[in-house]
Symmetry: C2
């Protein structure tokens, strides 16, 4: 099976995933412990809701990136796992608010928190996780780190507002889509990688290199996430079929195909997109048209370009097991589409 112009086959992909998980096993365990140890709410309800969103099968990709990048910079301070939870707490906070906003009923195959505990609790536990993340950031004692993290949260909320504002609108341009995914996804990846360099007191060159790695990885990650909505096996990813479209979210495969299609074809696609209750058959038709007009391939190519840039940003570091696994993660970010 050819993916993104590379020769990954399904076995290679599983090997890649297993290699990452094996190499990172100890870090992932330590991250899991830190996520639980640093939660410390006063109220049982907060624990319950926070644990529901935090311990429901998340990949821990953001904290893992911070831990690995810190190691790549030679950090020996011993707090990498503790500080890494910042990125999972911020991520979980936005998931709580986003699921509410998108009226999503499922998250990783489990009922979304707001459907179990109500919208108000989801809003407030989101606020708590955001605040908890910033408290732990404050514990680094480094104003620059805290500034970056506060800035990330500003960007993320603005990205979400931007997306919300353009919900259901067919004239979303590629540049606007890219700005939205930069804010809502890439800045958090970028921050997780960049802050590790600050923690390790690495050179500015390394800081910028890791920021670039995180940024490009984040952009590619979101593009592939958006592609997954149009893949063959949406059920396997714990989302409903065509969830993005049903939430009125136009993503790159659609934006590109709409732009490339002729008038008649575009009209047909628009009809399906604007129909709140499109059938499974209509969705299959749409998927065919996205492929036909190059929306899938274009998104795959752009994601692959970002991954290439992410990997080349790591070249300023000497070869090491840690650098290898960061390269593997970059490959897997696009390959996971399988």
């Amino acid at each position: 099976m050819e993916i993104f112009g590379t020769n990954w086959n399904e076995t290679d992909m599983k090997d890649l995933k297993n290699r990452i998980l094996d190499t990172a096993a100890k870090d992932l365990e330590a991250i899991e412990r830190a996520l639980s140890d640093n939660l410390q709410p006063n109220l049982d309800l907060v624990s319950k809701v926070a644990e529901h969103i935090l311990f429901s099968g998340g990949k821990r990709l953001r904290p893992l990136l911070m831990v690995l990048c810190a190691r790549l910079c030679g950090y020996r301070g011993g707090y990498e796992h503790t500080f890494s939870v910042i990125f999972e707490y911020l991520h979980a906070a936005t998931l709580l608010h986003d699921d509410l906003i998108d009226e999503a009923t499922l998250r990783r195959g489990k009922p979304a928190a707001h459907t179990v505990w109500g919208s108000s609790t989801a809003v407030l536990v989101g606020d708590f996780l955001l605040a908890r993340g910033l408290s732990i950031a404050a514990a680094t004692g480094q104003p620059k780190i805290i500034e970056i993290i506060a800035d990330i949260t500003e960007n993320m909320s603005q990205g979400e507002i931007h997306q919300l504002q353009r919900k259901g609108q067919l004239d979303l341009a590629e540049a606007e889509y890219l700005e939205i995914i930069r804010c809502k996804t890439a800045v958090l990846f970028q921050g997780a990688c960049r802050i590790s360099a600050l923690l390790a007191e690495a050179s500015e060159k390394k800081e910028m290199g890791l920021a670039a790695y995180g940024f490009h990885l984040g952009m590619a990650f979101q593009m592939v996430d958006d592609l997954l909505d149009y893949s063959e096996s949406t059920a396997a990813i714990g989302k409903s079929v065509g969830a993005d479209l049903k939430e009125g979210k136009l993503t790159l495969p659609v934006i590109y195909a709409l732009q490339k299609a002729g008038t008649a074809e575009r009209k047909k696609m628009e009809q399906i997109i604007m129909d709140d209750h499109f059938s499974a058959k209509a969705f299959e038709t749409l998927k065919g048209m996205l492929r036909q007009h190059g929306g899938i391939a274009y998104t795959e190519d752009l994601a692959t370009e970002h991954i290439t840039k992410a990997k080349s940003a790591l070249n300023l570091f000497d070869a090491s097991e840690t650098r290898d696994i960061l390269m593997d993660i970059a490959d897997y970010a696009v390959a996971r589409k399988l």
Copy 2:
């Protein structure tokens, strides 16, 4: 008119208010400018919603307290107005989320933001303001300040969750009520006053004195706010009559009266409280009973005690115009009930 066992009459009260506003006029202007200058969102929609909540007649009490306390500590850094906006942004963020949670339709006599722009926008602009507040905190470059502010936001979200969790429950105890208002209101006042001392690099004694002033002022302020729901002129404060009860919020006047009333009287009160659509007449009956069973007087007394403690905490500072106005603000926090 006798209020809180003191001899304030209506004219005295107006004089007090005017004296505060006259003395603070320049600071209030500078705060207003800083609130607008430091907002800097990328999106027009964020500006619009943030401005709706920020510039709708707020008293700017929290930033004013920070500015005045900084001056009391001899701060000359020139950033007091800039940093003071942190406390108004955090306050506005919680108002946006709270109005949504309480399904409040009015805020300061204007339509609540979520009724104009929808719940999702209210959630996300709240997140933005929270993040903006923390960004400005990060700009102080002092990890301790940032830590306190992150801790405030954690406390505030937990106070709101606690309140939400006990919504509509008749067995809320006084101690639990006090813990809720400490988290949701007093910690922000306390933080605004305490941080000014850190900014001014004042002694720990001064820091703790101002923290005590802010804490007691905040406790009294919330108690009086809760009393206002049962005052004669609820219309004048821009809230609906009996709004707290309709939102299922039991506050101290009610908690105390329920506890002191005999079985039959308590049953009657409980019936009114639990009726989602109580009549204006029933509400008047309830108000009479709160008064009769000492709920109003007890809350007034406790608020007055906190104000006495707040004022005495200022005694470690030499007499000055700034100390006078902080004393006036403390008096006015309870006297504003008129």
